[in-house]
Assembly symmetry: C2
Homo-oligomer: 282 residues x 2
Amino acid sequence: MNLTTLIKQIGTKKTLLSVGIDPVLDRIPGKVRSGKHPLYDFGREIVDATEKFAIAYKINTAFFEAYGSQGWAQMERLADYIKSKYPDMLLIADAKRSDVSHSSKMYARAFFRQMPFDAVTINPYLGKDAVMPFLEYENKWVIILGLTSNPSAWDIQLIQEIDTRDYVFEKVFKYGAWWGTPEQVMFVAGATFAYKLQQIRHIVPDHFLLVPGVGVQGGDLSEVCFFGLNKNYGLIINSSRSIIYASEGDDFAEAAANKAHEMQQQMAKEIENFKKSQRRRI
Amino acid sequence: MNLTTLIKQIGTKKTLLSVGIDPVLDRIPGKVRSGKHPLYDFGREIVDATEKFAIAYKINTAFFEAYGSQGWAQMERLADYIKSKYPDMLLIADAKRSDVSHSSKMYARAFFRQMPFDAVTINPYLGKDAVMPFLEYENKWVIILGLTSNPSAWDIQLIQEIDTRDYVFEKVFKYGAWWGTPEQVMFVAGATFAYKLQQIRHIVPDHFLLVPGVGVQGGDLSEVCFFGLNKNYGLIINSSRSIIYASEGDDFAEAAANKAHEMQQQMAKEIENFKKSQRRRI
């Protein structure tokens, strides 16, 4: 999948939504849970119910690995299902991988060749070596963890450098933009630090940002859009639990669709507002 | 597995060797490659041939994921084989995982409950949240990436903090020692920065260090031991390719055994020298 298709999808569907698929067996309704492939079946139903309102699905590998090779097989099957039925959907492996180059090459093979993912999240602690093997694949992205949304993100990411006064996360955005173009590299930028998106946009005006941590509040979403949108939209906003567990009953797919629809409508408004403000500037 | 057993194993076997299992299908001899479970069979033969000379096996998840759920299933089987046949062997998943806490919890389940690993390598970029869920398991370790052995390790790890003048990797060692005791936490410290081990030993005098990147040269090994050994040995020195691909012919297991034996003998000498120097100090 390429950048033009992604931008076109956002424009047509008027949504920035990525649905995060983090299935926990205990929270899957009994009807689906008792089947032979509960993670796959649950994911498939979520995807079919929400695809009109989303431009991306983010599969979190942790939630499949926890169920062993059976879990991994269901992840493979789900990835195949999504890309064959919805080829223009951005399919993200939230794997947070990173290793020295000869190992990183094997991860790239796992997610881009063995499975049909369009993008993989990558941890920058090992530097450039961990990222480069992924960039050898055309029309695929690495999504580098810049600023994460968790409480202890500051432990390392907010260390300030002596020479440049840059924070570590700022260095990561600078490096990432140097390692790859917006057609190759995106960044994770947590919504819990929405005010920092302005700072981040100065460093990477053109790259897409994957924003996790947006809750159900329109407030946060507005703030993220205000600071994060750019001329190519430039934002993918992920929501996992508030969509996939909108109901834990047998109506889970319908409830997920409703929640995704609601978020899509908020996003459509934000996009419209942004466009208006851009027109005013001209 | 607990710290006492690990220390006892090193003392009895007079070795610090971890054998890294990074199987690439193209490099596995035809006899094994043509079987139904080539990664597992290759790993099993390597383990049986080298177990006298090693106290740990490090399985790199990248090399199994590259072959999909079939690869993952072979990793599960290999892990089960090693821990059931050699229960006192430290079994490390070199997975370099890290995520926000509810996802990290699922990774911990994957490696510690679903599979019988004793230790998992963890990337510190997300801070404490990524580490804590692993510490809930008794007699298991997280091995935090401190200073890695790859050329671009300096991108992030050698950023110097404005307030403390600490480098990022030093902060990671400080944090790690605060998050967990030597019975819970170890660190990766690359051999390509052997002279930095002295600095690291000041921060973490008691924690075990997993040292990758030691080549075939006795020189490096001596340097690592000189700076890294402590009263409980405190070092696990990993070698992957130089052992498992010592021969790529049908004699690969025998060649691996010879190489592992050679390294074990060098290590035994280093341990002996260290003990002598300790006695002199008293």
